[in-house]
């Protein structure tokens, strides 16, 4: 497949990917750093490059509500937001998943207030981790674009039928021009394909009821039915990734591995910090330190069995969390990873880093590798640590 090499920001790249799915409806409200993504999309529509009906709404709660209505009517639908915008969507975010509507959302990761901060961390996405969406994370503009193409196939698969959010780091990815390969429109369309809704509100021949009152007699059964979808999703994510690899040569899955095969020491993280870690891993590899990276791409469903298999037999694991779980036992990624590793007898610790867009630099990544060396040698390392903050 011949692909065009271009320079785009992450926001432009995801707008480009969503356009290629030919969505019927988009409903969004502007918020930094997502705004540019919808600017780009509005430009596609204004230029006649997209026929998407854009619904201008007065808030993110309305954006998600409009998206749910459009999707229940049978339209391929997307929205996009960040931080407080996602928080305002909250109630309806759950409804989208409960109704099994395959809406796609670009979530340009930004810290939650307060105090007000427009820069990257993952607290917005993590706050919604139990809402029932599939969470895909991206390292750079290329992966954001690729996730933006694959998201539709995963969401709309008949065994899944769940909304998917494509997470990419605010400013670090969203506003940085990056080199990436784009699929030609016809190839992307052939890969994504036409959307066949499972049900539609707009068929008078087959009237249905969506979102009725659901009390003590059926709510639990409906949630049980929803839970089953997350059991099926991992196989579909893998299948879509494999097909995407055949088309583009870019292979994804639940995670990317970097110099992991013989690694004794493993770093686990999400998002753009993977690039910095890869550089530092190279430096330590030259010194003979067997360190590798496990960059997770799917946080929901969390690939616990897969991760346990990969991390078994290592000498030490360190999880990097770009969000805090206040009052929790470490950040969300650490909580999940340690739970996945229950019974493995591999030492594991964690760092919370990069809150509110604090730079994650080479020195911080080196601190992580050295903490892994200490843990592997039997040294005492606290299980929850902070990185790059003035104490």
């Amino acid at each position: 497949m011949e692909q065009k090499l271009v320079a785009l920001s992450g926001n432009e790249a995801v707008a480009y990917a969503f356009r290629q799915a030919r969505p019927h409806v988009a409903a969004a409200f502007p918020i930094t750093p997502q705004t540019e993504m919808m600017h780009k999309y509005a430009e596609f529509v204004a230029n006649g490059e997209s026929t998407t009906e854009m619904i201008l709404v007065e808030s993110e709660h309305s954006a998600m509500s409009a998206a749910v209505g459009a999707a229940a009517a049978g339209a391929r639908t997307f929205t996009a937001t960040s931080s407080a915008g996602f928080a305002l969507m909250w109630e309806v975010v759950y409804i989208a998943a409960s109704l099994r509507l395959p809406i796609c959302m670009a979530l340009v990761n930004r810290a939650l207030s307060g105090n007000i901060n427009i820069h990257c961390d993952h607290s917005d996405s993590m706050g919604g981790r139990d809402a029932g969406w599939i969470h895909l994370f991206s390292e750079n503009a290329q992966e954001s674009y690729d996730n933006g193409v694959m998201a539709w196939r995963i969401a709309e698969h008949m065994d899944v039928r769940l909304p998917v959010m494509v997470n990419y780091d605010g400013f670090i990815i969203s506003h940085t021009a990056d080199a990436l390969y784009l699929l030609p429109d016809d190839a992307a369309w052939k890969f994504i394909g036409k959307y066949n809704p499972a049900y539609t509100l707009l068929n008078p021949e087959k009237p249905i009821t969506v979102g009725p009152l659901d009390l003590t007699d059926y709510y639990f059964e409906h949630k049980t039915s929803q839970l089953a979808a997350y059991e099926k999703a991992p196989a579909i994510i893998q299948q879509v990734s494999d097909e995407f690899a055949e088309l583009t040569g870019r292979r994804y899955g639940f995670a990317e591995e970097y110099r992991l095969d013989d690694a004794d020491l493993v770093i686990v993280l999400l998002g753009s910090s993977a690039g910095t870690c890869k550089d530092v891993i190279d430096q330590y590899r030259e010194k003979g330190v067997k360190v590798g990276l496990k960059k997770l791409r799917t946080f929901r469903p969390f690939p616990h069995a897969y991760l346990a298999r990969i991390l078994a037999g290592r000498k030490a694991v360190c999880v990097l969390d770009r969000s805090a779980s206040f009052g929790g036992q470490g950040g969300p990624l650490f909580i999940e990873t340690r739970s996945a590793m229950y019974g493995l007898q591999v030492p594991i610790h964690s760092y919370i880093y990069g809150l509110g867009g604090r730079d994650f630099d080479l020195k911080q990544a080196a601190t992580v590798v050295e903490s892994l060396q200490k843990a592997a040698a039997g040294g005492e390392v606290k299980d929850i640590n902070l990185l790059g903050v003035r104490l």
């Binding site: 109704l99 099994r100 049900y199 009237p207 249905i208 009821t209 009725p212 059964e221």
Partner: protein, 102 residues
């Protein structure tokens, strides 16, 4: 009404069978109940129009619909029918609310 198990439910909690409220019996919520006094009824159909549920039984087979009575499986005792029922027969209404004896 028999209970459906998880495996037989439609995904998303969607109800795909239209009009199935008729099978859902809700008549055990009420305290008061409308008593139908047939000789006072002028078959104006106000009760049928105003009933927020499907509790008014009518005979629609003739040229004009006839009020038949209350379907107790669906009546919640809200009293709207009795409120709207016109006192057309010498000041007397065909529907009066009385405390239900359980």
């Amino acid at each position: 009404m028999s209970m459906i198990n998880t495996k037989d439910l439609h995904e998303g909690g969607i109800i795909r069978e239209a009009g199935n409220a008729a099978a859902y019996k809700t008549g055990d919520w009420r305290t008061f109940v409308p008593k139908f006094v047939a000789e006072n009824c002028i078959h104006c159909m106000f009760c049928w129009i105003y009933c927020p549920d499907t509790a008014i039984e009518i005979d629609a087979s003739g040229p004009k619909p006839l009020m038949k009575g209350i379907i107790m499986d669906h009546c919640k005792g809200c009293g709207i029918c009795a409120q709207e029922c016109p006192p057309a027969k010498k000041g007397k209404s065909a529907l009066v609310m009385v405390r239900e004896e359980k």
